[in-house]
Symmetry: C2
Subunit: 235 residues, 2 copies
DNA sequence: CCAGATCCTTGTTTCAGATCAAGGCGGCCT
DNA sequence: AGGCCGCCTTGATCTGAAACAAGGATCTGG
């Protein structure tokens, strides 16, 4: 009997594989490979052959679309327990890079696809998650195309606060919430389709309006969540 | 023995159900309902209960995200043979509206979900298509956030030409291609995240540069496909 | 064939955000 | 400590696209 590689997995309860029985999980674990990436390292390059899929165990990744002349847009942020990769694609469409140090549980794409086909429950769960990702991408299209700089930054702050609060469990807009931004101003700009300078100015504006407090560049306290929400005009 | 409702289906070979055996298809047809919508009519409203999924048989639909104060963004165009709807969601996230008169083959969501679970092949195909839709959404995020007005219009023209050429089969950028725009300037603006006026000006600019010819507002000839491609700086 | 409603084009003005430019922190290494 | 480097802020200027405005073209139904 082999040791159970999943026993210590930090996202065991939340990743795709949480829907599997112990027996099924052992089969999947049979061809997984854990890999670590340091901040800034790239997990897969757009245009390369699509060889792996993975569950993120820790850290944060960015999925980036780029023009030929070098303009970039972060099209998705990948958090622990999220799935990343492109099953059924021969070629990787977007570059995936670690924003912080990260640990991934990777699977060879073809073996993973076969596993999906033989295990309906996990395939179904992946389908649901993919629909969810699609809805998120579409919601962000509205943000990118139609919100003002101020609205964009307010939205992202609320989103990051929600993400930070996922582990702890925070309620709401009424009480102040403090958390650390998981990314630089530059990355925020890349997510929101704007420049570093504009992001910085909008944060300063929120600070002046006493909606947030910045304690050092990376630590934010949302003082008035309702006011912040009010600066978000997206549905 | 019942008559075969699918026999005359114009997208029989291309819709999701093309992967089914005749027997399976009959089961699915057993709970499908054909519905027609006239141009401008809404198929489903954001926020409503998610009750149906559908295959589009003819016409074009738009999927729209909107802010509370009325700004709108078209997040997807649905063409014949495409799937539309949100399985596994209790609530519809985006409004879907007919851009032209359209015919849909609709299924009650819960029955469709059960059918998916019992027919792995179609579920797998839906998964693949959803990944494809996700990639398209992400590619469009780059367009929305980082391309100039001119680049956006050039990209959309090429995309629409490709879509128009799907039925016929056109090769390339070298020879002139003529087709009818499937939407108004206003809809193009809603897709690209810009205003009607700017779309119009960019088309005029392409016309002046003799890259395209406009014969009436809706008929376009791409005279110099390579030049048009050159004005697209996206990957 | 006319009246009204869309839809489209073009001109002018305005403005939000990009770009250019110049420091100011703060962490990290030697 | 000191110096370097990456990140952040702030200011000044510029510019592309929005907003505003005014017709012209095309379609529709009576």
């Amino acid at each position: 009997m082999s040791t159970d590689i999943c026993a210590l997995c930090p996202v065991r309860e939340h990743a795709l594989c949480s829907c599997l029985s112990d027996e099924e999980r052992v089969v999947l674990a049979g061809f997984c490979q854990r890999r670590r990436f340091t901040a800034g390292e790239t997990v897969m390059w757009a245009g390369d052959e699509s060889r792996i899929c993975a569950n993120l165990q820790s850290g944060v990744l960015k999925v980036v679309a780029a023009t030929t002349d070098g303009r970039e847009q972060i099209v998705s942020l990948v958090y622990p327990a999220d799935f990343v990769g492109e099953p059924y694609a021969t070629e990787t469409a977007f570059t995936v890079t670690a924003l912080s140090d990260a640990e991934l549980c990777t699977f060879p794409r073809l073996l993973f696809e076969r596993f999906l086909e033989e295990h309906a429950r996990i395939e179904n769960l992946l389908l649901q998650r993919t629909f969810k990702a699609l809805n998120e991408a579409r919601a962000r299209m509205l943000t990118l195309a139609r919100l003002s700089a101020g609205e964009k930054v307010a939205s992202l702050l609320l989103e990051m606060a929600a993400q930070a609060g996922r582990c702890r469990c925070q309620l709401g807009l009424s009480e102040p919430v403090t958390f650390d931004l998981p990314m630089t101003r530059g990355h925020m700009a890349d997510v929101l389709g704007m420049t570093i300078e504009t992001v910085s100015r909008q944060l300063t504006k929120l600070k002046s309006a006493e909606v947030i407090v910045l304690s050092g560049a990376r630590t934010v306290t949302i003082v008035d969540g309702n006011a912040l929400k009010g600066r978000t005009m997206a549905a």
